[in-house]
């Protein structure tokens, strides 16, 4: 008897309902990182865990077909590159590395604190993609198999 990939129907159905909520909660943590506990690292972990959740419930090939590994590599590299660029912008405009070059705005509102939400966003990208990639290679990679 050929076994269906992934876990049972119950797990798949529950995953279909909850994985979007997990992903949304990750983005919430990233966006409100400068106001509440959380921030780029914790939100990025939650985003990466939503992809791992999908992989565990639906099997490896389900996620691998939809989200290319090369895209994840590109996102992870983009995260650290944009972080460096944001630091360099402060260096170029006023001579201080990682200067907060945007206006501070009104405190305790969503669009405030200068470029800190941007930094949270790129850290979240890097952590989410990096965590999924670490899981992917630990679960899937076999030496001497392809690249």
């Amino acid at each position: 008897m050929e076994r269906e990939e992934g876990m049972t129907l119950i797990v798949k159905t529950i995953t279909r309902f909850t994985v979007w909520l997990i992903l949304l909660y990750g983005f919430y943590l990233i966006m409100h990182g400068h106001l509440t506990p959380g921030g780029g690292f914790a939100g990025g972990l939650v985003i990466g865990l939503s992809f791992i959740h999908l992989t565990l419930a639906y099997g490896r090939d389900f996620v691998r077909r939809r989200v290319k590994v090369e895209l994840m590599h590109a996102l992870e590299a983009t995260g650290s590159l944009v972080f460096l660029l944001l630091g360099l912008v402060g260096l170029v405009t006023s001579g201080v590395f990682f200067l907060n070059f945007l206006g501070h705005g009104e405190p305790f509102t969503l669009f405030s604190a200068g470029y800190i939400p941007l930094l949270n966003l790129v850290i979240g990208l890097k952590v989410g993609a990096g965590l999924y990639l670490a899981f992917y290679y630990l679960a899937d990679y076999r030496p001497g198999e392809g690249k």
Binding site: P37, P107, F108, L131, Y137, L138, R142, P143
Partner: protein
Amino acid sequence: MGLYFMSFILFAVGLYGVLVKKDLVKIIIGLTIMGYGVNLFLILIGYRREGLYPILEKGRAAAAMVDPLPQAMVLTAIVVELAVLALLVSLAVRLYEKYRTHDITKIRRLKG
């Protein structure tokens, strides 16, 4: 003082796992438990009696907060621990591929 002592106990539990257990996965779990003990101890050092969480909000004075510096340091330590954990697990995976076991008493061939 009792809380400090409990974080030491947590560290000792992890050390017990690292020193006594023979399974590689249990050794890795012991290492992470040791890390949790150290993190808990550092967070407790920054505690201040009657202190609240160190986040500025509307209408709150900055004086009544716990020390945020150990918390930022521990956040960095957690990130580093995650990277170390990924490295250890990848080494365990490679060892399992080579020897087909996680028992460290059976992993003793020097070459081949």
